[in-house]
């Protein structure tokens, strides 16, 4: 931490860190200074000249921008002198002379800094009688963002964001002087995964989002703070709604997590909430289709059929999938339902696409996102963060770009961070264990990177690089990192509240509060609380699917789970659900999975219910309700409670908060954590500790085959929420087989030709695209794209010309 200095602002002495921009120091201490170009997360540029103040110097008062003035000891600043007032009024007038003043039809109207400051600081009537500057009205700068150059005040926030933060310098100021304007290059749109942030930080209505253009007037909006439902970083967001419709997500500047930024998936992926396809009434199977039913009938049916399975085959014939798409409270209710009501430990929130549950939930020493800001070296051996955890990607980028942290990236192909990586190692999927062994020994090319890891602090970001990778590789990497002198581990996995669900015991080997079956005392406490708990770990997702498919298991409960789309072997999931005697699904939509169920119960979704989420660092934050769920939807916890009552084993919940209360009472890592404690710490939330798992290195086999498959997720795909967010769905890359040009030549194909990829559990015919970043002998297929059959998780594949 830098030294504290005393500065005087309008006669008031304040103490701030040396070097803080005076504007931030003043505003944080209650003296507002108007500004347009300044943004505390961007480098100061001093362009708009709105923030001028007078600074006392030995040569008298000097007019200077406060955004570019670093605080230093003894500065005396005046923000409201006649000279300052006049200058600010002048700047505002200059900004307005060429402004179209079309506030009544502008999306930003009502929340526009230019509009607000004109009221507060501006001149009265316009003295400008010349002709205004004209530009063609809104032009798209990307699929998601429109630009109105007449409204633009050239503050360059968008340009700076694109270059400094997102690393996608695709939007720029062109021309000079009075003709200067914002532009993208022909055929090269601002197609950044983070483009929507510019809409949020544009201080006028020059950048607007196609997703909410003209949808609502800011003054009609109701707002609530919440946590992003898409990725696992726990981004603080504000949800705006009007007339029971969610209209917009904006990022909130929570220092610990997203610092105000969101990926476009998170920002625009709200459309699913208001989708016309939402389920609104319970459905029960009727031959090949469904018929609508009453809640009473549907719940009775579920209780009866589940009860019958339990009676004939025992509770352990029932499998539970899901939990990651809801709140902690929903997940806890699900976990308790499976353990205490059904009597089964077969429950998993992971869809066969994540590392070991204890690694995700309880690894130690565990890093926070903020630790990236002070790490000297960052090891990234996991998913391409740009595709899977956008704001974490930005944070790593910042650490390298702004602070010069060293970055080691190990991945089967090019990643979004390669341009910033100090060392990048590319390896064939299936050879991870061998690669790790070589890396750990510092052999050959690995020497320098390996040495850098011996000097702390190191943050190791660990997860699965792809779905054909042995999940225990992540454990092995974590074990290697844990053995370094000064390293912490940040485990990553995909899908909104995965970490919360695992913490709530939606995992075959964990009970709520990160309790392992090895911890006899804690398990005993749960037996007391739940009545009974099976005394051994259950099956994970692939185990449950196999069990259902081969008849070892008989029934399935899906809570916001779509295994047919989400697991690598979707065909197995389909067979499993078809083979099951009984399947009940709690869902928002009829998905590929829930449409195979016997009973489908319409659930409340995000923004329709209250609760908490837990992010990948183990930080708990609130999610809040702002709209009512459509039709007869109910929250998951309540549906599960109703079923439990009908099965004669009520769980004792009558509101989400009573669930939270029970979590605070029985779940060790969450002991005494109440909603009000979480609220009080907003927007950051409460960081939990309670890690107990020190990863050990299991030796795994490498796969040796001519062609291996890299199957990995992209930001936009065919997942449920994306399918139902129309602005985004078309941005998914679609079915494609990426090949190294050398392999393509060997196979006798070129770009655009079709190849057949025969995987361990299915085959797909896909168009070829070249990717020279791939190692030879690797085919990369983006996972979960519309119309692409699943290939299975096996690394060895066959590829041939179609």
């Amino acid at each position: 931490m830098a030294d504290l200095v005393k500065i005087t602002v309008d006669g008031k002495e304040i103490e701030v860190e040396a070097g803080t921009p005076v504007i931030d120091a003043a505003i944080d201490n209650g003296t507002y200074i108007p500004h347009f170009c300044h943004h505390s997360r961007l480098e100061p540029v001093g362009l708009c000249r709105m923030c001028l103040v007078e600074l006392e110097t030995p040569r008298g008062m000097v007019l200077t921008p406060s955004c570019t003035l670093p605080a230093s000891e003894g500065q005396v600043i005046h923000t409201k002198t006649p000279v300052v007032d006049k200058a600010q009024e002048g700047v505002l007038e200059f900004l307005l002379i060429n402004h179209p003043l079309d506030c009544p039809v502008c999306d930003k109207g009502g929340e526009c800094p230019l509009q607000d400051q004109t009221l507060g600081y501006g001149p009265g009537e316009s003295r400008f009688v010349e002709e205004k500057r004209h530009f063609e009205k809104p032009v798209p700068v990307s699929d998601l963002v429109l630009l109105d150059r007449e409204r633009c005040i050239l503050c360059s926030r968008c340009v700076r964001f694109a270059e400094e933060v997102a690393g996608d310098p695709l939007i720029e100021i062109t021309a000079r002087g009075n003709q200067a304007h914002i532009e993208t290059f022909p055929d090269e749109p601002f197609s950044s995964y983070f483009s929507g942030n510019t809409v949020q930080i544009c201080p006028v209505g020059a950048l607007t989002a196609t997703a909410y253009r003209f949808r609502a007037r800011p003054w009609d909006l109701r707002k609530v703070e919440s946590t992003c439902p898409h990725c696992t970083a726990g981004e603080a967001i504000e949800i705006d709604a009007s007339q029971n419709q969610v209209l917009r997500f904006n990022g909130i500047d929570a220092d610990a997590t997203n610092q105000g930024w969101l990926s476009d998936k998170c920002r625009f992926g709200f459309e699913f909430i208001g989708s016309a396809e939402r389920l609104t009434v319970p459905l029960v199977r009727d031959g090949d289709g469904f018929r609508e039913s009453t809640w009473a009938e549907a719940l009775d049916l579920v209780a009866e059929r589940l009860g019958a399975v339990i009676e004939s085959r025992g509770g352990e014939a029932v499998a539970g999938f899901g939990g990651a798409r809801g709140t902690n409270e929903d997940a806890y209710a699900f976990s308790k339902f499976m353990r205490a009501v059904v009597g089964s430990n077969h429950i998993d929130a992971r869809m066969d696409d994540a590392p070991a549950a204890e690694l995700l939930a309880a690894v130690q020493p565990r890093a926070t996102i903020g630790d990236l800001d002070t790490a000297s070296t960052i090891l990234l051996w996991g998913p391409d963060l740009k595709e899977e955890a956008g704001t974490l990607y930005l944070r790593v980028r910042q650490a390298v770009q702004k602070r010069g942290a060293k970055l080691v990236v190990v991945h089967p192909r090019r990643t979004g961070l390669d341009d910033r990586a100090t060392w990048k190692f590319t390896y064939r999927p299936g050879t991870g264990f061998g690669t790790l062994e070589a890396f750990a020994s510092g052999a050959g090319d690995f020497a320098e990177a390996r040495k850098a890891l011996d000097e702390g602090p190191v943050v190791a970001v660990v997860g699965l690089t792809g779905m054909t990778e042995d999940p225990t590789l992540a454990t092995a990497v974590a074990a290697f990192a844990a053995g370094l002198p000064d390293a912490k581990i940040l485990p990553v996995a995909r899908r909104s509240n995965t970490f919360g669900a695992l913490d709530m015991g939606c995992a075959p080997g964990l009970l709520p509060g990160r309790v392992s079956f090895g911890d006899a005392d804690a398990v005993a406490a749960f037996e007391a609380a739940f009545g009974a708990v099976p005394d051994h770990a259950g099956l994970d997702t692939s185990g449950m699917l196999e069990g259902l498919a081969n008849g070892d298991l008989a029934a399935a409960v899906l809570v916001g789970a779509d295994p047919v789309r989400d697991v690598p072997d979707g065909a197995l999931a389909r067979r499993a659900l078809e083979a099951a005697d009984f399947v009940v699904a709690l869902d928002l939509f009829l998905t590929d999975s829930s449409s195979l169920a016997d009973v489908v119960l319409p659930a409340e979704g995000f923004a329709e219910k209250e609760g908490t989420f837990t992010n990948l660092e183990g930080r708990v934050s609130k999610v809040n309700r702002i709209v009512a769920g459509p039709g007869q939807t109910q929250p998951d916890w309540s549906i599960l409670e109703e079923i439990a009552r009908r099965m004669g084993r009520p769980m004792g919940f009558d509101s989400a908060e009573t669930v939270a209360e029970e979590i605070a009472t029985v779940a060790p890592a969450y002991a005494d954590l109440r909603w009000r404690d979480v609220e009080r710490k907003k927007p950051e939330g409460v960081l939990l500790d309670g890690g107990w798992y020190t990863p050990k290195a299991p030796a795994g086999p490498d796969v040796d085959a001519d062609m291996v498959l890299h199957l990995a997720r992209t930001l936009y795909d065919d997942g449920v929420a994306m399918r139902q967010s129309l602005s985004l769905h078309h941005l998914a890359p679609g079915g494609v087989a990426y090949l190294h040009p050398g392999d393509a030549e060997r196979l006798g194909v070129t770009e655009g030709d079709q190849v057949v990829v025969v995987g361990s559990a299915g085959e797909a015919t896909l168009p070829v695209r070249f990717d020279p970043s791939l190692p030879a002998g690797v085919v990369y297929v983006p996972f979960n794209q519309a119309g692409v059959p699943s290939l299975g998780a096996g690394a060895a594949v066959e590829v041939r010309s179609a």
């Binding site: 310098p169 939007i171 720029e172 062109t174 290059f185």
Partner: protein, 206 residues
């Protein structure tokens, strides 16, 4: 879109002159104009490749400067200075004569694509005002009548190379200072005739 081997060789020499790649943007933009006659989108993409920038970053730089023309500007770009010193000595009449004779206003190129006309700010010839440049080769002390002759001559003769001393002799008058000796180097298009664009061939230095 790709550059000729000679241009590529020149670009490589230019790159060597600068401690950082990005610095080569301006000379490379001139090379690109030399290749295509003006700055095309493909030309900017090419410069982006060379300098490690995105095409829009290159455009942002190019469009800042008046001499990087993003549109075709004829075979001969006639630039009439109308800044204060030239204005005082009758530059507005020279401009009017050029526009009239060329048949196009400021910022336009004639239908045949031969002559483009622009008025520009001071070109450093104020002592020889009014001043005009053709493809950046200078004529000082020009009259409106001489300016008409100039445009007509350009259209009729269509010389391959524009040489300042030659033009000055035919169409010029009072100069800012004694030019002393005659040069034969000149411009072959609407961009400055400066061979090296910021570099000297290594072989020229031995």
């Amino acid at each position: 879109m790709s550059w000729s081997p000679e241009t590529v060789a020149r670009a490589e020499r230019i790159m060597q002159r600068y401690p950082e790649r990005r610095s080569a943007v301006m000379p490379l933009l001139y090379l690109s104009m030399l290749e295509d006659g003006y700055l095309t989108d493909d030309g900017m993409r090419e410069v982006a490749e060379w300098t490690g920038l995105t095409p829009v970053q290159v455009k942002s730089v190019a469009s800042f400067y008046g001499m990087f023309k993003l549109r075709y500007t004829g075979k001969y770009l006639v630039s009439v200075c109308t800044s204060i010193s030239c204005m005082l000595r009758g530059a507005d009449d020279v401009m009017a004569a050029v526009e009239d004779e060329a048949g196009v206003p400021h910022g336009e190129t004639d239908d045949d694509g031969v002559i483009a006309v622009e008025h520009v700010e001071c070109i450093g010839a104020c002592g020889g005002a009014p001043a005009v440049q053709v493809n950046y080769e200078l004529i000082e002390g020009i009259t409106p009548e001489q300016a008409r002759d100039l445009v007509r001559w350009l259209r009729e003769e269509q010389p391959d190379k524009i040489v300042a001393d030659d033009l000055q002799e035919r169409f010029g008058g009072t100069r800012s200072f004694d030019w002393a000796i005659r040069e034969t180097e000149g411009a072959v298009g609407p961009f400055p005739a400066f061979g090296p664009y910021g570099t000297v061939a290594e072989e020229d230095r031995s």
